[in-house]
């Protein structure tokens, strides 16, 4: 059994996750800096689309991986997802508590959802890439 997959053969999931994270954070800062007025929605919508497109691309390239430690990926991924759903939920709670409503709330929620997907994916991949691949 291999000790770990050939690192050069793995897709750039980490880099794509970081790019998605940067896009989402930039959108969040843009929206927050305009409060209490509603910021123009064009930029937040663009970053959300970019963020989810990058997540989708990662899901696609990950689904094509065969020699990979999927058991480690899911082990880390599910617990990290739980943690970031709690964190994202708390931040959403604060926004709702502060009276964020309508389009702004939808955009913020979508950003938090993207955030809560990106980080577990990043953590899970970072661990699984150094683990022996599962038998398949």
């Amino acid at each position: 059994m291999k000790d770990m997959p050939d690192q050069d053969s793995l897709p750039p999931v980490t880099e794509v996750c970081v790019a998605a994270m940067i896009a989402i954070i930039a959108g969040g800062i843009y929206m927050a800096s305009h409060l209490p007025k509603a910021a123009a929605t064009t930029l937040p919508i663009i970053v959300i689309v970019v963020g989810f497109a990058l997540i989708g691309w990662n899901v696609l390239v990950l689904s094509r991986l065969r020699e990979f430690s999927w058991s480690s990926f899911w082990l880390v991924g599910r617990w990290a997802l739980l943690a970031y759903v709690v964190i994202g939920g708390m931040l959403a709670f604060v926004f709702v508590r502060d009276g964020t409503r309508g389009t702004q709330l939808v955009l913020v929620t979508l950003m938090l959802i993207a955030y809560a997907l990106i980080i577990p994916m990043l953590l899970a991949f970072s661990v699984a890439r150094y683990q022996p691949p599962d038998d398949y």
């Binding site: 000790d3 770990m4 980490t14 996750c17 970081v18 994270m21 940067i22 954070i25 930039a26 969040g28 800062i29 927050a32 800096s33 305009h34 409060l35 209490p36 007025k37 480690s72 880390v76 617990w79 943690a83 709690v86 964190i87 708390m90 931040l91 709670f93 604060v94 508590r97 502060d98 980080i119 990043l122 953590l123 970072s126 661990v127 890439r129 150094y130 683990q131």
Partner: protein
């Protein structure tokens, strides 16, 4: 003084007492989870009740600890780890990193959630606030720190812990990932200096 050194008898070689058993390594210290649960529960209750002192407490204590730990790890602990032998680094990491894995996200969420609510009440998050530029700068600093901590530092931390769980850990890989951890801890430490400047500037307004 010389007599004292003769009297002290400390074993210097061989297996040290209480040597760390890696097979017992817990990546997430389960005993800490109830404490985290209680802290987060109190945070939610404080925000829901709009309890002024509670918000202040969470923001000041959480932010103070976050900043101090980042600075201490970045500029004191990090360089020391960098000079340790690989076995010493491994033993230190196996004891240190699981605690950080639980502590830091808790401090960050407490600081950010209470800080946002506090800023909202005090009018600091309002775009018309006369030092709004400093507030936006703080968002940017936190954003950069998030990318570094969650994109580089935390994955390296977690990967080291999983490597340590293996019967024969890859020392080269651990050394490589630890180097990443040490450098990024230094960068987040430097970013915390910016946080201190911004927060004291806002507080003195």
């Amino acid at each position: 003084m010389a007599d004292m050194t003769h009297e002290a008898s400390v074993p210097l070689a061989g297996q040290p007492a209480g040597a760390f058993d890696r097979s017992q390594l817990q990546i997430v210290p389960l005993r800490g989870l109830p404490i985290v649960g209680v802290v987060l529960g109190l945070l939610v209750a404080t925000i829901a009740a709009d309890w002024g002192w509670g918000l202040d407490f969470f923001h000041v204590v959480g932010g103070g600890l976050w900043t101090a730990i980042d600075l201490f790890v970045g500029f004191v602990v990090g360089p020391i780890i960098g000079r340790l032998s690989i076995p010493a680094r491994i033993e230190f990491s196996a004891r240190f990193m699981p605690k950080m894995l639980l502590l830091m996200p808790t401090l960050v969420i407490c600081t950010m959630a209470s800080g946002w609510q506090l800023g909202h009440h005090l009018g600091f998050t309002d775009a018309s606030y006369f030092r709004h530029g400093w507030i936006v700068a703080s968002y940017i600093v936190v954003g950069v720190m998030s990318v570094i901590a969650l994109g580089i530092l935390e994955p390296a931390n977690l990967a080291v812990l999983f490597e340590l769980k293996k019967p024969n850990p890859n020392r080269e890989l651990i050394a490589k990932l630890m180097k990443r951890f040490i450098y990024t801890a230094g960068v987040t430490g430097a970013m915390q200096v910016a946080t201190l400047v911004i927060m004291t500037r806002i507080a003195s307004a």
